[in-house]
Amino acid sequence: MIHKLDPRIKLIATFLYIVAIFMAKSDTITHGIVSYGLSLLWLFIITTISKIPIKLMLKGLKPLLFIIVFTAVLNVFYTPGRVLFEFYFLHVTYEGIVLAFFMVIRIILLITGTSLLTYTTSPIMLTDGIETLLNPLKKIKVPVHELSMMMTIALRFIPTLIEETEKIMNAQKARGADFESGNLIERAKSLVPILIPLFVSAFRRADELAIAMECRLYQGGEGRTRLKELRLYKIDYTALFLCLIFFFFIIASGKML
C-alpha cells in the first residue's frame, strides 16, 4: 500500500517526519519517552503496512553503526550535569546518559524512517516526485527538469559503474596489481590503474548516452509528456492527513507536557 502512494506525498511525509523528529523534545525523560515513543509507534505502523521486513530495516543501520556509537560516546562524556562517576578525565553524567540514549534513538529513527522512503519508492518515481514538487522553482529560473534528469541518470549508472570497477579491478589483479598491501601512498598509487580506465569508460558512456538521447529527440523538459502522470487519489489525501496528525501530536506533546 505504501509502495503505491504518490511519490510527492511520500516525500512530503518524510519531510514532515524528519522535522517532527528534530522538533521532538527530549529535555526531560517524560518528554523524550512520549515523543520518541510516538515516533517509534508511527514508524512501526508504516513499516508493518509496507510489509518491509524489520530485519532489512535494521540491516541499513549497519554501515552507520560507527557514527551512532561515536555520537553516543561523545554525548555520554561531554554533557555537563550531575556526575555519576569519574574515570581520570572522563565524567559520566546523568544528563549525558539520557541525552545519549535519546540521541541514538533519534538517529535510528531518522535513518530507518528515510530508508523506508527509498525501500518503497523506485528511483524514477522519486525523481519524478522531486521534479514536480520543485516545479514552482522554475519561476525563479532553477533548471528543475535538468537537475532531476541528472539525478535519474546518476542513479541509473551507480550499479553500472560498480560493475565496471569490479571488472577493471579483476583485469588489473590478473596482471599482478595489488590493492591490499603497502603503505598509504602505495595504496593510493595502486588506484591509478583502476581510476583512469574507469574515467575513460565513464566519459565514453556519457557520450554514448548523449547521442542515444539525441537520437530519440530529447531536448529538455519543455513540452515533454510523461508515460505515467502523477495523480493524487483518495488514499494519498488520507495518508497526508494522517501524517499531519502525527506531526501535530509530536509538536503538541512537547508543548503540553
Binding site: 590478473a174 596482471r175 583502476i194
Partner: protein, 288 residues
C-alpha cells in the same frame, strides 16, 4: 602427461542462503594437460567466464578446488599472486583496462609487478609486442591514441609479457572485424606453438575455434555438457543446439546433405575437410 590445470568438483553459488541465490557453476571437474589448446564454449550466461576466473584465483570457489601444476591455489591465500603470473588472463574487451601514458609502460605493468629487472622488462615488452604483430614504433605512443584493434592487441601483449604458462582469453575476438579476428587468432596460435603454452580460449562462436583448438569443453548452465575433440563435439549437433549454440556452417551443410540421403560424414568442421570428403565422394561415384 602432467595436468597443468585440474579442477575438482568446483561449485560457485552467489548470495547463498538468500532469496537471490544463484548457482553459477555446479560440480564441475576437468583436467587440462600441458600444451593443450582448449576452447571453452557456452551460451551467454552459461558460466564460462565465471569458470575461467576461478583458474587464476580471481574468484574463490564456494566448494571444490583448483590445482595449477598440482598445487591448490587457495592453499595459501596470500600467495595467490604467484598463480596470477602463471595463469595469464585476458578479459573481455581488454582494451578497457589500459591506463598508462605510453604503450610501453602499459605492457610493462605486469612484468613490473613481477619485480623483474628493467632489462628483463624491456626485453619482454619487445617480445610481447612482436607476438601480437604490432610494430615497436607504437611503444612510445599513448594507448588512447590507437585504434580499437590495436588497443586490444596492446592489452593482450600486456598479459603475454608476463610469459604465463597458461594463457586464458575471454572472447578475445568479440567486436572485431573479420580481418582483426583472423589476425588475433593466428597470433594466439603462434604463441601457443612457440611457447608451448597451454591456452584456454573462451568463446561462443564456433567458427572462431573449430580449426585451431585440440579440444572443446561446452558449458551449459554451469555444468559441462560436452568435452572432446572438435570432431567429437561437432558431431553432437543436436546437443549443441540445446545449449543454444550452433555448429560451424560447413557442418550444418553436411548435416543437411546427409538428411537428403547423400552418404557424407557429418563430423567435418572446416572447409578443407569438407572439400576432401566431397572429392572422395566424387571419386566413388565416378567408379560406378
Amino acid at each position: 602427461m602432467l595436468n597443468v590445470i585440474e579442477v575438482k568438483n568446483l561449485t560457485q553459488i552467489y548470495s547463498a542462503d538468500t532469496p537471490f541465490e544463484q548457482v553459477a557453476i555446479f560440480n564441475v571437474s576437468f583436467q587440462i594437460s600441458k600444451g593443450e589448446f582448449v576452447g571453452i564454449m557456452g551460451h551467454t550466461g552459461s558460466g564460462k567466464s565465471t569458470l575461467v576466473q576461478h583458474l587464476n584465483g580471481l574468484i574463490k570457489p564456494t566448494s571444490g578446488s583448483v590445482l595449477i601444476n598440482g598445487e591448490d591455489i587457495w592453499a595459501e591465500p596470500k600467495e595467490i599472486k604467484k598463480f596470477r603470473f602463471k595463469v595469464g588472463m585476458v578479459f573481455q574487451y581488454p582494451e578497457h583496462q589500459l591506463f598508462e601514458e605510453t604503450v610501453f609502460a602499459d605492457i610493462a605493468f605486469g612484468p613490473k609487478n613481477m619485480r623483474l629487472s628493467d632489462e628483463e622488462v624491456e626485453e619482454r615488452v619487445h617480445e610481447a609486442i612482436q607476438f601480437v604483430g604490432l610494430s615497436p614504433d607504437i611503444l612510445d605512443k599513448s594507448p588512447f591514441d590507437l585504434s580499437g584493434g590495436q588497443k586490444r592487441r596492446v592489452a593482450i601483449a600486456g598479459v603475454i609479457a608476463m610469459r604465463p604458462d597458461i594463457l586464458i582469453l575471454d572472447e578475445p575476438t568479440a567486436g572485431l572485424d573479420p580481418k582483426g579476428r583472423e589476425e588475433i587468432l593466428s597470433h594466439i596460435s603462434e604463441y601457443h606453438k612457440k611457447q608451448g603454452a597451454t591456452v584456454l580460449f573462451v568463446t561462443h562462436s564456433m567458427e572462431d575455434i573449430a580449426r585451431i583448438v585440440d579440444r572443446i569443453i561446452v558449458i551449459r548452465r554451469g555444468e559441462i555438457l560436452l568435452d572432446g575433440t572438435p570432431k567429437e563435439v561437432f558431431s553432437e549437433a543436436y546437443t549443441l543446439k540445446k545449449a543454444g549454440l550452433t555448429v560451424p556452417q560447413i557442418t550444418s551443410v553436411f548435416i543437411r546433405l546427409k538428411e537428403m540421403g547423400i552418404p557424407v560424414d557429418t563430423s567435418v568442421y572446416t572447409v578443407e575437410q569438407a572439400l576432401d570428403q566431397l572429392v572422395s565422394l566424387k571419386g566413388r561415384r565416378s567408379s560406378y
